[in-house]
Amino acid sequence: MRDRLAVDLRQYLEWLAPVLAMVTIIVLWEIICRVFVIPEFILPSPSEVVTAGLNQSASQWADNITNTLTVAVAGYLVAIVVSIPLAVALGLSPLLSRTIFPILVVIHSTPVVAIAPIIVVTMGTGALPRVFITFLISFFPIIISTVTGILETPEELLEMSRSLRAPRIREIVQIRLPSAIPYIFSALKVSVTLAVIGAVVAEFVASETGLGYAILFSTSSFNVPAAFANLAVLVVLSLILFKIVSIVQVIFFSWSLETTKKK
């Protein structure tokens, strides 16, 4: 019975702790802003941010959120769809890997701002360039991790596959990818927040809506509380997407978390 209570309490605490931490931070932030009279154009207090947020019309919020979310999710999905097969190809051919990897590193380390003109001139100013930019920013971790995971497949499982003369594609789909799942999800978690950043950066380069646009626009018009309001929503979006990725892993790939939970 007492054990039962302890377990309940523990579970309760597990949910409470993060909420408490967030609340503490926000309260501290408010107090610091008030006590040290920090000007709002440097760091607006949470209450100012909330006020600014309420000042923004619901339709504007809906617009901003929809735009950023759509681009982030689209870019993320493109990144997944492109990266995993590419990673498989790279993992299986050392020659291809040696050839393509430098190019991927080059692409990933090119700041978007530097190539914005080419992107805007060739793709226009619609959703396409933004999805593309999001993709560019978020694909890399997925490739690196998937390649690593594919190469770290236990040799004994690969030997089993080879002994069956199974076609390469089945070795990949049925053995290498499943055993790379922990790697892939670790990357998917990194990439999902990168995708959100990507969507924001894309809005910096070419857009008239979206949370990123609103942040920079508000900053440029010195409305820092409004910028923070949009930033706060952006960050919550990121948290939700991150959580969704974690939940997908728990639901569909729970075995990949087994060592974690076994007692």
Binding site: S163, L164, A166
Partner: protein, 273 residues
């Protein structure tokens, strides 16, 4: 030292190729600490179609290496390996292997693990395969665990899954690397009888690695006795015990005679023969 001579020496009659042939095979491993290590040196033997051959020998004498060589998983350093007369240059078709470790897939349940080789080799699993898989699970005493994950099974249970998995393939070559090592005396005996039954109902060439001398004598048509450093063949013994064999076979004086012979080969050195 070999008691058998190559079967395809006669050039006139239509040649019937031996199922498995090792001709002067050596295998060297490159290691980081000790340079080139010769795991097997000058191994030659011939196994006929549907023969049941057991390999016994001390730990590290190269039994598993022979299995992997024949399966085409690693190439020989020198010498020639052939299956049904054709040189083995890539993994063999129609092979079922029980590896020394169970190597189950942790993300599949036990039944799916048993049918996995089918799915992996042929890309699909028929309802018939599933039924056969369930029968095999019953045979190895794991019917209740069809939906369990490998991590929920004991060591011996995992090994039995690996056996069921290989048997489901109904392969032309069945290669088993110490398949019963994690089993208790009872399961071991049961499994031995089942294996004999399966083998007699659907004949196949069996390469059976074991460290139990009595198991080798009970099951095999012939026994290859190996010595280590570098791994080589000390002797190849015929086991002319009548089949079907069972507990009663152990009462046959031949049984203890052969056992003693192997024991003396292993314990007393090969020269004692």
């Amino acid at each position: 030292m070999n008691t058998h001579v190559l079967a395809n020496a006669s050039p006139v009659l239509p040649v019937i190729h031996p199922a498995i042939e090792f001709d002067n095979v050596s295998r060297i491993f490159g290691t980081r600490s000790r340079g080139q290590v010769t795991a097997l040196r000058d191994i030659s033997f011939v196994i006929d179609r549907n023969e049941f051959v057991a390999f016994v020998g001390p730990s590290g004498c190269g039994k598993s290496t022979i299995l992997r060589l024949f399966a085409g998983l690693i190439p020989p350093s020198t010498g020639m390996i052939s299956a049904n007369g054709a040189p083995v240059v890539k993994p063999l078709d129609k092979v079922g292997i029980v590896f020394q470790k169970p190597t189950l897939l942790p993300w599949l349940d036990i039944e799916s693990n048993v049918v996995f080789l089918m799915r992996h080799k042929y890309g699909r699993v028929t309802e018939q395969d599933r039924r056969a898989a369930r029968e095999l699970l019953a045979l190895v005493g794991l019917s209740d665990f069809a939906r369990s994950r490998p991590s929920e099974l004991s060591g011996g249970m995992q090994q039995r899954v690996a056996i069921a998995r290989a048997l489901l393939m109904d392969p032309q070559f069945l290669l088993m690397d110490e398949p019963f090592s994690a089993l208790d005396a009872l399961s071991r005996e049961e499994m031995s009888y089942e294996l004999q039954r399966i083998w007699s109902e659907r004949p196949k060439t069996v390469l059976f690695i074991t460290h139990s001398i009595s198991e080798a004598v009970l099951l095999a048509d012939r026994i290859v006795v190996m010595t280590p450093r570098p791994g080589s063949i000390a002797a190849i013994l015929d086991v002319p015990l009548p089949r079907p064999r069972g507990a009663h076979s152990q009462e046959n004086p031949l049984f203890s005679e052969i056992s003693a012979c192997i024991r003396s080969l292993i314990f007393g050195g090969a020269n004692a023969r």
